[in-house]
């Protein structure tokens, strides 16, 4: 049988405990909660029959605690040098709807007082968003929905995805690391934190104080799509933009390519109308110039485009071509009228033009189809 000094024995027991229960998870109700010297947190975790003394640093405490809250703690059981049993807590998380809500309200009050959720801090979605950072679990349904929707709606974006846990005790730290990664080592214009629906417990990691502070401190604007419409996390409140779901994030960040195609068609149709009206206006005043413009548009642009181009814009172009043809027909009719009235044509039929003062003794000029004759008027008689 081994014999130990008290120090040796405590060391051996701690080694055994660490080997057997590292880390251990214990769920119970908080009692005798207190913070000493602003650094050390002490509380008991108990059930109806038993109680365990817990110890942790303030830094490790990521959610507000109060006596009576139900929590799950992860940590390592230890004997202190005084031989007393203690549980060194590495992480604590409220469990159960009431405790989650209580912790949420306490932290919300604290961070609101600090101004972390002020509207004045909010930044807008960049206008020309091309590079996006996404923090989510690539296995999650919410992430799959997001990718499906942005691909259906829009193109040309570069999406960098940081795969992290989005529930559980490790999730906040992983999301914090991903936020730091994007802020320090990427050129994304916006960060989207995505997590589909779940229970209050599933979503409680988004009420982690350090995560909420990291979101508020992000140099890059953050949009959140966490849970469903009815779910509101502190991460949502700290983000620059809050969407109701991951799918809603996709809709807020991208335009709909089908709507844009419709807008494009309308824009080009309107432009065609403006151009046609201008051509028609000008045709009333300037026949030759308009004909040149019409000919130029038709032969240089419209006809080659109709031969070579795709269907939709072609429809536009066909409309404008028909209109130009109509204008050209009018012009052709006018040209025929002008042709009939053309003085040269009249002269070719044997007529002559007299110019000069019509008075006896005056010199006049007689213009025929082939000659110009100077003559003197001898006599004038009324017909």
């Amino acid at each position: 049988m081994n014999s130990y000094s008290p120090t040796e024995f405590i060391a051996v027991v701690n080694q055994t405990l660490e080997y057997a229960y590292s880390p251990a998870l214990v769920t119970g109700e908080v009692a005798s909660f207190k913070i000493n010297q602003g650094k050390w947190v002490f509380f008991d975790i108990k059930d109806e029959e038993s109680s365990i003394s817990c110890f942790m640093s303030v830094w490790s405490l990521r959610v507000p605690l109060e006596d009576g809250m139900k929590v799950v703690v992860s940590g390592v059981p230890k004997l202190t040098k005084w031989g007393k049993f203690s549980f060194t807590v590495e992480n604590v998380k409220p469990v159960g709807e009431g405790s989650i809500k209580k912790a949420y309200e306490l932290l919300k009050k604290k961070l609101t007082a600090e101004g972390l959720f002020d509207v004045s801090r909010k930044r807008e979605i960049p206008e020309n968003l091309v590079k996006l950072g996404v923090i989510s679990s690539t296995d999650a349904a919410g992430y799959t929905d997001f990718i499906k929707i942005i691909n259906a709606r829009w193109g040309g974006m570069k999406v960098s995805v940081a795969h992290t846990q989005v529930q559980g005790m490790d999730a906040p730290d992983q999301i914090i690391r991903a936020l730091k990664y994007f802020n320090e080592r990427s050129d994304v214009q916006m960060i989207a934190i995505l997590r589909g629906g779940g229970s209050a417990d599933d979503l409680s990691c988004f009420n982690d104080e350090q995560l909420v502070r990291e979101i508020a401190a992000s140099k890059i604007p953050v949009i959140t799509g966490i849970g469903h419409e009815r779910d509101e996390s502190l991460a949502d409140l700290a983000a620059d933009v809050r969407a109701s779901t991951p799918s809603n994030v996709a809709e807020m960040l991208t335009k709909d390519r089908n709507e844009e195609k419709m807008k494009l068609m309308k824009t080009m149709n309107r432009t065609n109308q403006v151009l046609l009206q201008a051509v028609e206006r000008a045709s009333e005043n300037n026949t030759g110039r308009v004909k040149r413009v019409c000919d130029g548009i038709n032969t240089k642009y419209i006809e080659p485009m109709i031969k070579n181009n795709a269907e939709k814009i072609d429809d536009c172009l066909k409309v404008i071509k028909d209109a130009f043809d109509k204008v050209q027909n009018i012009l052709q009719q006018r040209i025929k009228v002008l042709d009939v009235l053309n003085p040269e044509k009249v002269l070719s039929q044997g007529y002559a033009i007299l110019s000069g003062k019509i008075s006896p003794g005056e010199m006049i000029k007689i213009t025929t189809a082939k000659q110009e004759i100077d003559a003197t008027i001898k006599n004038i008689k009324e017909r």
Binding site: G155, R257, V274, V279, K300, Y301
Partner: protein, 65 residues
Amino acid sequence: MEKDLTLNQKIENLDEQVEWFYSDNFKLDEAVEKYKEAIKLAKNIEKDLNELKNEINVIAEDFSK
């Protein structure tokens, strides 16, 4: 140069080009060239809207550590 522009930037450019047709600067003689440019850009945008894909890249970084 057009190739370097994003889809959004091309749409913005087209809007500016079309704006000219409504402006006091409109001249019929210049309209042909402007129209040609607008149609060319519109077709380019239409092609992008039909064909452009997003690039999705999962970062090779372990965020659990």
